[in-house]
């Protein structure tokens, strides 16, 4: 299968990390690029990230997820509440939820790509170890064009 792939890396691990607003702006910019591609192209955006988690912190093997943080963020994504998401996804708030939680910023970037549309599906499984698993899908209508 000949499948062109454009890899994009983000720094969510080593501070200084860009604020959520910038992640969202990058998502909006990526969307604008995709929309300018020839209409016959089908484009999928696949990203990985995570919700609250702690690595190398106070519980070496137990992980440490903050389910309350996760649920709140998931609700904001589900409601397509961009401003709410940007307000909540501050560095301080994320670090408070777990020292590696800024990996969540990749979801903020995806929300930028998805536009103001609500996800078509969203699933979350809280894990006692490591991070919770959050799956979000935005199926695009109009043959993938945003109208």
């Amino acid at each position: 299968m000949d499948l062109p792939i454009v890899p994009i890396s983000t720094n969510v691990m080593a501070p200084p990390v860009a604020p959520a607003r910038r992640f969202h702006e990058v998502g909006v910019a990526i969307r604008a690029i995709i929309e300018r591609l020839p209409p016959e192209l089908r484009v999928a955006v696949v990203a990985s990230g995570h919700t609250s988690t702690e690595v190398g912190g106070r519980d070496l093997l137990g992980g440490s997820i903050n389910e309350e943080f996760d649920r709140k963020m998931i609700d904001l994504i589900d409601q397509a509440d961009v401003q709410g998401l940007l307000n909540e996804a501050s560095w301080e708030r994320m670090i408070d939820a777990g020292n590696q939680t800024p990996g969540f910023l990749n979801y903020v970037l995806l929300v930028g790509i998805a536009g103001k549309t609500r996800p078509t599906s969203i699933d979350y499984a809280a894990s006692k170890r490591f991070a919770g698993a959050l799956f979000v899908n935005w199926e695009q209508k109009n043959g993938g064009r945003f109208l």
Binding site: M13, A14, P15, P16, V55, G56, G57, R58, D59, L60, L61, I95, D96, N99, Q100
Partner: protein
């Protein structure tokens, strides 16, 4: 600046087998010539993860550094780790 140098040394040791072997054989020689404070040098040489954590080294790199070099039961390490790290809160680890 030297916080970054600490992170870089730990990353090399965690990811590169030759660096890991060189450090295990002679930590002082491995760290020689790096822009590190005496305290940072000492903490790295003695794998003093609590001090590294307190100084603001990257927590994820500390874990990898320690796990790469550790011997013995990981549950024993975890017990000691949690006792030492939990009281230290969350130091700023920006570089």
């Amino acid at each position: 600046v030297s916080r970054y140098t600490v992170n870089k040394a730990m990353r090399e040791i965690a990811l590169q087998r030759p660096a890991q072997m060189a450090f295990a054989a002679d930590p002082a020689a491995f760290l020689q010539g790096r822009d590190l404070s005496a305290e940072e040098m000492q903490a790295l040489k003695t794998i003093d993860y609590a001090t590294l954590y307190k100084m603001g080294a990257h927590p994820m790199l500390i874990v990898q550094f320690v796990m790469t070099l550790r011997r013995g039961d990981v549950r024993e390490l975890a017990k000691e780790w949690n006792e030492k790290i939990a009281p230290l809160g969350r130091p700023d680890f920006s570089t």
